[in-house]
Each structure stands twice: as structure tokens, then as C-alpha cells.
Symmetry: C2
Subunit: 173 residues, 2 copies
DNA sequence: CTGGAAGAATAGCTGTGGCTATACAAGCGA
DNA sequence: TCGCTTGTATAGCCACAGCTATTCTTCCAG
């Protein structure tokens, strides 16, 4: 239930990663290749992000639909995601047991406080990423598509950098 | 077998997306929210990218290990990915039937031509993404982690922009 | 040359995210 | 009110990515 222990979503991104201390201490030239543990941490974080992607996209989409038309129905969610309705039904059940949403049958789905918080964070992050891509000269169509995937893998640090970049008017300034 | 029909990996990124033609033709203010079909396309592309992530990471890692130490053993792959050895064994079987690698038992795994090509593309893309993040001021640790996830969702257009940005010396120029 | 360590494979489990087909419930128009 | 359309829920399937525990195989050291 709920997204657990992810430094990416914490306010305090400590990110204690043991650095590659014995780098270049060997006599062998050995090519690049970072320390195994460091390497592992990257993959672990990426796998974690992947597990939360869907949840984030769902609550964000639900928030959008509610704001746009006052309600979020399974059929509309399914249409926008490009998946079948039962797929949405199953996922919504998961989101409900995880406490993100509340389902009122035949009356659409609504976000809980937790759900709204996650939606808001996701929405803002999504927007920053998309704006950033546009700011570096990507076309709006491509920016929209790329942002949909990239957003879930952007750490707070990177998000801040994106935000600053956009605020300063992009590369042209 | 092999990665099929993905505009992201084609040399000609046509990307025919029907635009939201009836945007703002209604009388209702209706908030933002892009056209449903356009929205769907983003999610579809993202789902496609997700299915190829693992394959890309594996062949890239295998290439790195071979270059670094002359061989890629299951245990080493498992260690660097942070997963169990049987997980790697199963995935390697898939990669073999898909024609990316060739397994010589107790002698490590080797890339086919197809595998090497994919590894090379992935490696270059990964490097560009990571360099780009560093160029906009992200710390090397965070850049490494974020790039591991972001790389798989970067379209050719965005990759080109990243490359140009890095080549021009980042935001300081 | 042989026994044990290390590498690889297999079996069997879980959870997730898709799908189709089908059944059930609401609600609205005639 | 009745029935049809639409929206939801369920059942049952598949593929994938992870896990532990166990069983081969190799290979090398003594
Ligand atoms: Mn999003
Ligand atoms: Mn997304
Ligand atoms: Mn990579
Ligand atoms: Mn990666």
C-alpha cells in the first residue's frame, strides 16, 4: 500500500551511495565500468521507479479528467491510456486498496487525499519535464510523448535543475 | 523476436500524430487536456519503450563486461543489476532466442551482430543522456542514476537536442 | 585424478499488466 | 414501465520479471 521508501519522492533526498573508492587503484587499465555496487544502485532505483509509473499516470489522469469534466469514468480512462476497460477496472481496484482512490459504482472514481497529493506532485513534475523539453527546442508533439516516459525517472535534483532552466528562459538566454 | 516497429529507433522518425483539431472550438472553457487519441499515443509509446528497457540494459551491460574483462558471466550480470542469478538465466534465454546473444555454457555469454548493434546504440544514447544531465549541472551520482531510467524514453529528436547541447558546452555558453 | 567450490540450470512460486468474452447493473427514452 | 444502451465487474487466459530452493555441471587445486 502506498509507495514505499523511495528517495526520489522524499523531501530529503539523502541518496547515500557508496562511491567507487578503489577506482583506478589497480594496476590494470580495465576500461571504464563503474563500481558494481554503484552500478546496482542505479538499476535498483530504475526498477523502483518503474513499479510506480503506472500508479502515477493513473492518479494524474484521474485528476485531469475530474478537473476537465467533473468525473473520471473507466471508459474514458481506458480510452486515454489506450488499454481495455477491464485492465482499468483491475488497476482501479488496486489503487482503491492502496488508498489512492475511492470508487462510487456507476458514478466514477474519485481521489483520496493521498491520491490528490500524489496526483499534484506527478502533475507538476510532468509539466516541468515537458516544459523543459520544449525549452531546449524539442517540438511540442515529441516533448509530450517523451515527457510521459521520462517524468517517472527524474530525481528531485534533476527536477530542480529543469525548473531553474525553464525559469531562466531556456538555452537562448 | 527483436524489437519491432518502434518509431523511436527508426532513422526516419515520421511520428504521424493527428493533432487536436477541434481544440477550443467548443463554447465550454473545459480546462486543458489534450485530444484523447493524442494522449493515447504518448502512453502507447511509453509502454512500448518499457518493454524494451530490460533488453537494452542487458545487452549494454554485457558489452561493457566483455570490454572490461573479456567475458560476461551470469553472476557478474546479476551482481551489477542487483537481481538473483536465476533471474539473469531466464532473461538470457530470452535474449538468446531473440537473437541478441549466444550462450556458451560455463564460458560466458557473447553478443551477436544484432546484439552488438543494439548495445552500441544503447551505449551511445546512454552516454549522451548522462553527459547532458551533467552539462545542465546535475551531480555525477544523480546523473548516473537518472540516466539509467531516462535513456529508454528519449526519442531520436530529443537525443539530437541533447547531443547538440552537450557539444556546445552546456548552458554556460 | 578426484572432490569440492563455483557457475549455470530448473522447478515452482508471486505479483503485475495486458487481453477477450461474458455477465450484471443503471439509467434513460419511448 | 420496459427494454436497450452504456458502464462495470468477473472470469480466465497469457507474458514477463522477480524471488528461493534445489539440482546439475565444470573446473581447478591439492
Ligand atoms: Mn504523467
Ligand atoms: Mn507518465
Ligand atoms: Mn543503459
Ligand atoms: Mn537503463
Amino acid at each position: 500500500m502506498a509507495i514505499q521508501a523511495n528517495p526520489w519522492l522524499r523531501k530529503t533526498p539523502e541518496l547515500k551511495i557508496e562511491m567507487n573508492l578503489d577506482e583506478n587503484l589497480d594496476s590494470e587499465p580495465e576500461s571504464s565500468l563503474v563500481d558494481p555496487n554503484t552500478h546496482m544502485e542505479s538499476f535498483r532505483q530504475t526498477r523502483h521507479n518503474r513499479r510506480t509509473e503506472l500508479i502515477e499516470d493513473y492518479v494524474e489522469l484521474i485528476a485531469d479528467l475530474i478537473e476537465d469534466g467533473g468525473e473520471a469514468r473507466q471508459v474514458d480512462i481506458a480510452q486515454r491510456l489506450g488499454v481495455a476497460q477491464p485492465t482499468v477496472a483491475k488497476m482501479l481496484k488496486r489503487l482503491a486498496t492502496d488508498g489512492y482512490i475511492q470508487q462510487r459504482r456507476y458514478r466514477g472514481v474519485f481521489l483520496t487525499d493521498i491520491g490528490m497529493q500524489l496526483a499534484e506532485r506527478s502533475r507538476e513534475r510532468h509539466h516541468i519535464v515537458e516544459s523543459f523539453l520544449c525549452a531546449i527546442g524539442i517540438s511540442v508533439e515529441t516533448a509530450r510523448i517523451d515527457a510521459e516516459g521520462i517524468e517517472h525517472h527524474v530525481s528531485p535534483e534533476t527536477l530542480e535543475a529543469f525548473k531553474r532552466f525553464v525559469a531562466r528562459g531556456g538555452s537562448s538566454l
